[in-house]
Each structure stands twice: as C-alpha cells, then as structure tokens.
C-alpha cells in the first residue's frame, strides 16, 4: 500500500503479463544484462547471468507450481466495490476498472485447486501488478474462502504472497481483512492441514502482518523485500541510512524470521517435500512418535 509508488521507481516491472507482449530483449533489473526474453521466461524469470529473481506474472507462477493440467480456479465469484466512494487524484472506482481490464481478473489474487508433485493443495497467488497486490475486501474474501474450501476438501494451502499491504482505498474495511484472513486459517489448523507461505518480492505492510507470516512453514524467494514498514518510512522516521540487505529475505533468514530462502527452481520440490512430511505426520495420529526414539 504505502510502498506501491516507491517500488515502481526502484524496480521497474516490465509489461510481462501475457496480455502485453514486450520486446524480444529485456534487461535484468539487478545486473542490467541483456536477456533474450524467451530465455528469461523459460528460466522462470530468473536472470541467467546473476541469478536475480524478477517478479513473475500470476499465470507463470501457477504454471511453475501446479502439476500440468491440475490447476482449477476457484476465484472470480466476488468483485471489489468502492464502499467508501474513495477519491484521490482519481476515483478508486475508475482506477479499479482500468486495472481490471488490463489484468483480466476482478482483483489482486487467484486461488484454486492444484496438485504439487501429487500433493493436494489449494493454491493462492497474489498479483503485485494489480494495484500493488493490495489487500481489500476481495483479496481477504478470496483467501478466507480458499482456506475454508481447503479445509473441506482436505487440501494443504500454499500462499504465494506479493503485496504492498492493505488497500487504503477501502479504509478500515481493508484493515479488517487482516483479522478476517487470520480467523479463516483456523479451518486448516483445526484439521491439521499444512499452511505454507512463499514470500516473494515484495511482501509488506498488513499482508506481512497477517496471513503471510502465519504459515506452518515460511519460505521466501532470494532477495525478496519482506517487511512491515517499508524502507522509506523507516528512513524518514529515524533519519539514518539502513544497513545493507535490510529487510531482504537473506537478512530475515539470519534474524530467524523465515524457515529458508528457496531459489525459484527448487520451490516446487521443496513445497511438495514439506507438505508431504507434515501430512504424513498428521495422518500418523496425535502424539505419534517415530519408532526407536
């Protein structure tokens, strides 16, 4: 939310949605190497030269995680509404209509059923391109429904987070989505179904401070910015330079806040592994101990 504009300036995203084909060549936003666009896409949007993980479109994310042909979308039954009549330099309603048309979806998230290396999951992928992946009532509702349906259908939940935080154009109602998503996750906890979060660049504000950090396991992508308050806000508050690597995935790993930094190419295998292990444990029954302990 607060960071939307800052991110845009710091890390220009390319028009890499399927709807907007860009040029043949693109420049790595970290090392500036010229990359053949098809190669970059084939390499899961990871720079061949320096390993930098570019932001990834939702469709490509779903394709890389779900077993081929297994994804079945659950989203789209709810659409956002401008409950406050919010107007800044442009009405929120107009902003929404424009971005909906561009994205081809009602809001900043896609959820659905999938298999990940055969593991039954509900998969939720946030879309940073859609108003900075901000969480309003629809994002909250989609997550709540996905968690509830995962519970009913005996699926783990995999959450790929990418968000500037709560959507300020929906006021306190967007703030309340932090609590709404949190209470809905109980549908998984009470059935001992794993909830695994993947924090991608960037995950910030009210999203980091609610469902995105409540996973049984939290993975992050290399160099992803993950924070509550954004670097600019902190800098303005303390009027000091920030330490190198501050609020990046590797920094948070050292601080003990995430389980691991996982390169994109290994993510699917890693997700399947932890989900498989946790589900096997749950199936063995409460308090079951390995033999010979």
């Amino acid at each position: 939310m607060a960071l939307e504009r800052w991110f845009r300036r710091q890390r220009p995203t390319r028009g890499d949605d399927d709807a907007t084909p860009a040029g043949l060549w693109v420049k790595c936003s970290a090392c500036h190497a010229q990359l053949y666009r098809k190669d970059l896409v084939a390499h899961l949007y990871v720079c061949k030269e320096c390993g930098h993980h570019e932001r990834m479109p939702v469709a490509a994310r779903v394709a890389m995680l779900a077993d081929e042909g297994s994804f079945e979308s659950w989203s789209g039954d709810v659409r956002p509404v401008d409950a406050l009549g919010f107007v800044d330099v442009e009405p929120y309603a107009d902003r929404l209509a424009a971005v909906q048309q561009k994205a081809g979806r009602p809001d900043a998230i896609v959820t659905g059923a999938a298999l990940i290396e055969g593991e039954r999951v509900a998969l939720a992928v946030m879309d940073f391109q859609f108003l900075g992946g901000s969480m309003g009532s629809v994002v909250g509702e989609e997550i709540a429904r996905a968690a509830e349906r995962a519970g009913e259908e005996d699926r783990a939940l995999v959450m790929v987070a990418a968000s500037g935080g709560a959507r300020m154009q929906e006021g306190a109602l967007s703030l309340m989505q932090m609590a709404k998503t949190t209470v809905s996750l109980e549908c998984l906890a009470s059935r001992r179904l794993p909830y695994v979060c993947v924090l991608t660049d960037p995950t910030t504000g009210g999203v980091t401070a609610s469902f995105a950090t409540l996973g049984d396991v939290i993975f992050a992508e290399p160099d992803a910015l993950i924070c509550f308050a954004g670097p600019r806000v902190i800098q303005q508050t303390i009027k000091q330079d920030l330490p190198a690597g501050f609020q990046r995935a590797e920094f948070l790993l050292r601080k003990g806040m995430i389980d691991d930094v996982v390169p994109r190419g290994e993510l699917k295998r890693r997700l399947a592994a932890v989900i498989g292990l946790l589900r096997a444990g749950a199936a063995a029954g409460p308090g079951a101990l390995p033999a010979g302990g």
Binding site: A2, R79, M176, T182, S210, I226, A229, Q247, K255
Partner: protein, 318 residues
C-alpha cells in the same frame, strides 16, 4: 493550546470570564448578560462539534489533554497491578499490561499508552509499540485464557513503531501472531479505541468480541498524513485524505467495524476528562456484562464470525 476550530469557543469563554471578573470587581449585576453569553457558548459548542470535518476529528483524537488509555483504566479498573516484560526481549512502556477488577471480576488489561507530556511521550515512544510490547500482550492473553479472565484492550496508537530493531525483531510477525492469539481467546474480550486506532498496530489488540470507539476517536488503515503523501504526493493534503478514508466513529459504525460509539462530553474528551473516562467506564462495564455467561465455544465462535464477515464485496450468483 486550542485546536484551530476551537478558537471562537475559547474567545467566547474568555469573554465570559472577563465579564464575570468585571462584575465582581465593579460590583455590578451582569447575571443576565452572562447567562445569555453562556447560552450562546453552549450553542456554539454544539454547532461546532456537530459539524466537525473528519480531519478536525483527527485533531480532537490527538488533542493534548485528552484522557490517555491509563486515565481510562484508572476510572473503571480496581486494584490495578501492572505486570512488566515479555520474558524475552524487554519491557515496552508503549503497551501497558496488568491485572485488575471490573465490577469485582478479574480482568487482564492491555493499554496503548501515549504520554501526557513530552517527557512521558518520549518514554512511551508516543504510544508506538515494539515487538516486545506485542509479545507482552500475547503473554497476558495466555494468562487471561488460563485463569478465565476477560480481556479489556484500550487502543491509542499512531501505529506499531517503524524502526530498524522493530523490523529485525519481526514487527509484522508479532502483529500477525497477536491477531491470531487474540482471536483464539476462550474468554470475553472488549476493545475500546479511545484516541487513535493506527492500523495493524491497533488491530493487534483489537480482535475483540465487542469493539467500542469514543465519539471523537479515529480508526484507520493508514494515517491521513501517510495516505496523503502516497495518494496526493503531499502530506499537506491530510485533511482531504481524512475525508477519503472515512475514519470517524460514525463512519466505522456504518461500516460495521465497531459495535458502539461512546458519547464524549460536549467539546470533546479533552475539555472534560472526568466525564469522558466515566462514560468509557460505563460502556466497558456494560459490554463486559453483555458477554458474561457465554461459554468458551460461543465466545470464540462469535468473535471469529464477527471478523469473518468484515468487508464489502459484490458477489456473483454462486
């Protein structure tokens, strides 16, 4: 230190005082004149406060002299015992926790405390808690659950502190965990926004069965200043941002974010702190009483339900 829109009120008040002094000094009878002015003052206050803009409400919510969270606690909690520390990192004075009694029944109190003066404000970090504060709150929620004590949370914070150590210690993580911990309480919880409800840092102790707000308090996803800096690229547009955010008690009641608005004395809580804390005390007592006798299951279920239905969406036939 009058707020800008309070100037005409203050002027009239000082005029009445002058007349009174003159009458006493000169031994003249101005009773009728003074009484007329007092009536005019009453009307002026009523008019002014009935038509405050949202930004003016923000100013009242932050006004110097407004009762702090602990001032409210003092009015309805008997035998208050403050308990310090999160048993891991330290003690955060921005979030005060303790035990006490309300109408004879034990409660756990959580209070986001701003300073009453500059010195205390610095000590309290202007009511902006660090992760340690939220860890302390969670420790106290654990205690409330174990001993069957209701939780009363008083919210008054610009937000969780945005600093280097706070981020390193997982500010986002503790807020998320605190929201979850509070949503799991098997005991009744009542939250009151008494001043500023600043975003996630406020919600962390706001996942209650009953959420109250004082008439001139505000509760928002972002401060008007930050919102203005982002949306208008000018923090000076905060008054317009406040309008757009719909963050007043009346707005929040309409949105279903709060259950009840606690009326403040005419002129705002800072003009009559004693009356303000008495009104809060009565409202908290009534809220606690309304939750008495509910079973643990019902307490958890109805609280989860309350928050599960937050928000507005357009639903396709499904």
């Amino acid at each position: 230190m009058a707020l800008p829109f309070e100037k005409p009120i203050e002027d009239l008040e000082s005029k009445i005082r002058e007349m009174q002094a003159y009458a006493d000094e000169q031994q003249v009878d101005l009773v009728e004149e003074i009484s007329l002015l007092e009536q005019r003052l009453e009307r002026l206050k009523r008019e002014t406060f009935a038509h405050l803009t949202r930004w003016q409400r923000v100013l009242v919510a932050r006004a110097p002299g407004r009762p702090t969270a602990l001032d409210h606690v003092g009015a309805f909690v008997d035998d208050f015992v403050e308990l310090h520390g999160d048993r891991a990192l330290g003690d955060d004075p921005a979030l005060v926790a303790g035990l006490g009694r309300v109408d004879g029944a034990g409660v756990v109190v959580l209070a986001q405390q701003k300073g009453r003066d500059t010195k205390e404000n610095i000590y309290r970090n202007f009511g902006m808690a660090h992760p340690s504060g939220y860890r302390k709150a969670m420790r106290m929620m654990e205690m409330a659950d174990k001993f069957g004590l209701a939780v009363v949370a008083l919210i008054d914070t610009p937000g969780a502190y945005p600093g280097i150590a706070a981020e390193e210690q997982g500010q986002a993580w503790v807020i998320a965990e605190s929201i979850r911990r509070m949503s799991r309480l098997r005991v009744p919880a009542v939250a009151v926004v008494v001043g500023e409800g600043g975003s996630g840092g406020a919600l962390a102790i706001g996942v209650a069965n009953r959420v109250l707000i004082l008439e001139n308090a505000v509760y928002s996803v972002i401060s008007p200043e930050s919102c203005a800096a982002i949306r208008w690229r000018d923090a000076g547009e905060a008054p317009r941002a406040a309008e757009a955010l719909k963050l007043t008690s009346a707005d929040l009641l309409e949105q279903g974010v709060v259950d009840e608005v606690v009326a403040e004395p005419l002129g705002g809580a800072h003009k009559d702190p004693a009356a303000a804390v008495a009104a809060t005390a009565a409202a908290v007592r009534a809220a606690l009483a309304s939750l008495r006798g509910l079973g643990a299951h019902e307490i958890v279920r109805s609280r989860a339900e309350r928050f599960r239905h937050m928000g507005r969406v357009l639903a396709d036939s499904a």
